[in-house]
């Protein structure tokens, strides 16, 4: 087995980012916990597994910053623009079938704790504060257990997939100071998540998973996947 620190993985487009996360979900050892920070090759939009392609495409066309790719995720959730966010994924054991809200709160609670240590005001949006109908776009407003700043602005949202006994979380962080403070933010998130999941958390990517991701990338770039509804 040959591993690659995730910092050394080259910039990827949206199809390959999604493919690599699916490869982690499919191939990583059952008990492993893997944190991966994305490096984007260009602006992109990802949208939730169940969302209509037309909705995502319309959002992309309204964006001031041109979006190079519009790609459906394997995870749920809403539309996310990747043109100034810190995107990361966490692949973890999800053996007990349990409410996703619990997993979401655990991940975001850990991330918020890490962010607070570096001076970012970060709190979980309370469960009781669900504001009407769920928005189609991730950063329109906070939903329960999203991370918000001191002015109740959403700074971290995410989405989940459960397959067999594994879970995949994909998150998007938008904070002031980005991207100048990227190394500090990555370290803060890794510290927070590492404490919540224990010392087993790894940021090493097996080269075999990269190979698997190559095989999956065509799927995420295809009309059959992205325009399936």
């Amino acid at each position: 087995m040959q591993t690659v620190p995730d910092q050394l993985i080259p910039s990827l487009n949206a199809s390959r980012q999604m493919a690599l996360d699916e490869a982690l979900l499919a191939c990583a050892p059952e008990a492993s916990i893997i944190l991966r920070f994305y490096r984007w090759s260009g602006p992109a939009l990802t949208f939730g597994y169940s969302q209509p392609y037309a909705l995502a495409l319309a959002a992309a066309r309204r964006r001031v910053i041109p979006v190079a790719e519009v790609v459906r995720r394997a995870t749920g959730g809403g539309i996310v623009f990747h043109d100034g966010d810190l995107t990361f994924s966490l692949c973890f054991p999800w053996t007990r079938l349990s409410p996703p809200a619990e997993i979401y709160a655990k991940i975001h609670g850990a991330a918020a704790a890490g962010l607070r240590e570096m001076g970012v005001a970060a709190e979980l949006w309370p469960a009781r504060k669900q504001l009407g109908e769920r928005p189609a776009q991730c950063f329109i407003g906070p939903e329960p257990s999203d991370v918000v700043d001191g002015r109740d602005r959403k700074i971290l949202g995410g989405a989940l997939r459960r397959r067999s006994a594994r879970g995949l979380y994909q998150g998007s962080l938008r904070v002031e100071g980005w991207p100048r403070n990227r190394p500090q933010l990555e370290a803060a998130l890794a510290r927070g998540l590492g404490r919540a999941w224990g010392s087993e958390l790894s940021q090493e990517i097996d080269s075999a998973w990269l190979t698997q991701a190559d095989a999956l990338a065509d799927k995420y770039g295809s009309d059959g996947w992205n325009q399936r509804r």
Binding site: Y49, W94, T95, S98, P100, I103, L160, R161, R162, R166
Partner: protein, 133 residues
């Protein structure tokens, strides 16, 4: 409505009920409670061949998509089209109107390898009940 007592159950919390050569599949009440508010369901399309244990269906709740597995091998002969308009019926009626898909079993006897109602109830009391595949 298939009575739970006449169904078989998987460790991944699907139920299957074999009647007249057709197997109806859904998720158990336990599963729908854990998954919570289901907003989307994507059963497999008729004509698809599935293997036992194959991920062939997706349900989505709050920001989370879940794979659902075929309890037995066979050909999908029907999908619950009502789910497209109202996926929450899986929460309200997991073992009746919230069924997911129907199969023509490759080997009808395969259902007998699965847990019966009493065994599934006992399984729910164990730690294994909370594990996935």
């Amino acid at each position: 409505m298939p009575k739970p007592e006449n169904c078989r159950f998987t460790k991944t919390h699907e139920w299957v009920c074999l009647e007249g050569g057709t197997a109806t599949v859904g998720v158990t009440d336990h599963a729908q409670r854990e998954i919570t508010d289901i907003v989307f369901a994507e059963p497999p399309k008729p004509g698809r061949q599935v293997k036992a244990g194959e991920a062939c269906c997706v349900v989505e709740s709050v920001k989370a998509a879940f794979d659902i597995y075929a309890p037995i091998a066979g050909e999908v002969v029907a999908a619950n089209e009502a789910l497209a308009k109202d996926a929450a019926v899986v929460n309200r009626s997991p073992q009746d109107e919230g069924w997911l898909f129907k199969l023509k079993p490759a080997n009808p006897g395969e259902v007998n390898k699965l847990m019966d109602w009493d065994s599934y109830q006992a399984f729910l009391q164990t730690a294994d009940a909370h594990a996935g595949h």
